[in-house]
Subunit: 358 residues, 2 copies
């Protein structure tokens, strides 16, 4: 079931990452986005596709560029610091492209961490930021640990609750390794991200019990056709006995750091398409020698990889492995774009009168 | 099953919190702990019992005081700063009482946050810190958000893995509310904390499927008699399909911040009883007006409480509610101490030649 929700040669078309970057850049520019912001937005979306996070990948250029045209996203946008201290900033994303606000917010956090060891930015007046781990990963090249979170309008029920009240409120966390691949965690605090239900629906496959429930508590296996108030995603843990209060608690933590600390509002105050975010950078060298840190990361990752797998499983993975595997494949062989989305991107390029490059 | 794992009038004895504080203080002092550290250790343990977190409560004075006598814990201890910057500190707990190292580590973090907005301390050479949220909660009276984590020797398998490799690696997070009760999350990154399996064993009740498995992947319902290499706790999420990589990923995040950033070592490098920790304080006023923050916290908590419950459930709770309810009851009516543990504390007081006060 869940593992059928995959792109393959019959439902997708492979496109070189560089071509996708050029096509997305041109579409964002085609609707008036300044070049440096169009570059950022394209880069974040292509990175998600390259890493196999297709739900947050290149196809989103269609909706984002429509939101720009409709005036839902304000461009040219400014990432404006409302208040700041040595280590902290409250930033307004100016209701622009969310990817750009989060990217520029993390640039601020990294700069503060360079100067004072830590940097933290809470971002209001924002939109969808895509693959949340992208911003955490920006810390890696600076030998920093990165952390990132984002909220969304309700899709997930609280533990014991029968209405969607929280966003899928994902958490990103990235820490650099040495010889091993970097540790990159990117997880919705619900059992699955909303995008996986949408993907299952488009591909016509059922979803496993435990992902979503009706307001009467009945498990849903036929992926619902769109958002409505009759069902919700489960928080990670699913049931009280199996820890649903933990996924729910993490979702509230994300709401507090992104929505309440910024003043932008918590999940149930947000309209669909509004997203508040939060990023942090930690300068490793303030604690210990960076090479020693990375060597210990390598040891940990190596030991986990060497753990005997459960019967029926190939091997034990570490967060970031599937994405790094996808990246190896996709940079070499092209990025698979779901056929419907491939056509939609080309149609969108034509619509905004830019050359079709894919 | 799970909800039978509760203290009641037939398996426990109620003792006033103040008497417990005095008794624990005297036992810690009885084995040579300096008074100000004995005060801290007693306070953290009594707080856990008062909040209903019995597995991390007063009974631990027996084992901790034995560890002091055996020389496993070094006293008098010093919380020594190895390296620091404006906002960060790497601290050695000097292999003393873990509760004291984490407490003093959080004091350092709060002080740094007062001066620079953020404070973060990674603590090596440490022991068991008890209820991890205690340290996050220390931020509340300073109008700060607190966060705390701690590692432990392996008890939990990685997703897809068949050996215990990670500690239960809990996360604490506390944020102040206004009229509502503060948000306090305290969660193991495993489906359940180890202590709950031990409690079920002592009370002679089965555990639910999903909490623990054999190395062959068979669900365990008869609580195992002690730690060994034939079984492990499940990471939060339990199965791949239901998100076990998320609980596992969070456990690694905790290992990175506590064990790798401090250099003290990650879970599978730790001996039983060794624990590395991490704390952070965030000064809310650097972002926005504290009263406005608290008012929005109240709105969020109020909306979640007002969510319609699932059929068969009473009401929707917020993290910290069960503990605050326990506190209301226990401060008024005394703290229930499991009968075997009640006897053990008194026996321990006699052993170290201090007056029995409970």
């Amino acid at each position: 079931m869940a593992n059928k929700v995959k792109l393959n040669d019959s439902n997708s078309t492979r496109v070189p990452a560089g071509d996708l970057q050029k096509q997305l850049l041109s579409i964002f520019q085609g609707v008036g986005t300044p070049e440096h912001h169009a570059e950022i937005a394209a880069k974040v979306l292509v990175s998600a596709s390259v890493r196999g996070v297709d739900t947050h990948g290149v196809a989103n250029v269609v909706g984002y560029s429509q939101a720009i045209e409709n005036g839902v996203y304000t461009i040219p946008q400014q990432t404006k610091v409302i208040t700041e201290s040595e280590t902290t900033a409250l930033v307004s994303g100016g209701n622009g492209i969310g990817l750009v606000s989060a990217y520029e917010g993390m640039e601020i956090a990294i700069e503060k961490a360079k100067n004072y060891g830590l940097g933290m930015v809470s971002i209001r007046d924002g939109h969808h930021v895509g693959m949340v781990a992208y911003y955490a990963m920006m810390a890696l090249e600076h030998n920093m640990i990165g952390m990132s979170m984002t909220t969304a309008a309700p899709a997930v029920r609280p533990a014991l609750g029968a209405r969607k009240m929280l966003g899928t409120n994902p958490i990103g966390f990235a820490a650099p390794a040495g010889a091993e691949r970097d540790f990159v965690l990117d997880m919705a605090t619900s059992t699955v991200a909303s995008g996986k239900v949408g993907l299952a629906r488009r591909l016509g496959v059922p979803i496993p019990e435990g992902w979503a429930v009706t307001n009467e508590g009945k498990a849903i296996t036929d992926p619902p056709d769109g958002e409505n108030d009759t069902w919700s995603l489960n928080p990670l843990g699913n049931t009280r006995e199996q820890g649903s209060h933990k996924g729910y608690g993490l979702a509230m933590m994300v709401d507090i750091l992104c929505g309440v600390l910024s003043g932008g509002g918590f999940s149930s105050q947000l309209a669909r398409g509004e997203n508040m975010s939060w990023v942090m950078a930690i300068d490793i060298a303030r604690f210990r020698d960076v090479d020693d840190f990375k060597a210990m990361m390598d040891d940990m990752i190596g030991e986990l990889h060497a753990t005997p797998p459960m019967p029926g499983e190939d091997r034990v993975l570490v967060a970031g492995d599937p994405e790094a595997d996808a990246m190896d494949d996709r940079l070499a062989n092209g990025v698979p774009v779901e056929n419907g989305q491939y056509a939609a991107i080309k149609a969108r390029a034509a619509e905004v009168s830019v050359e079709i490059l894919i």
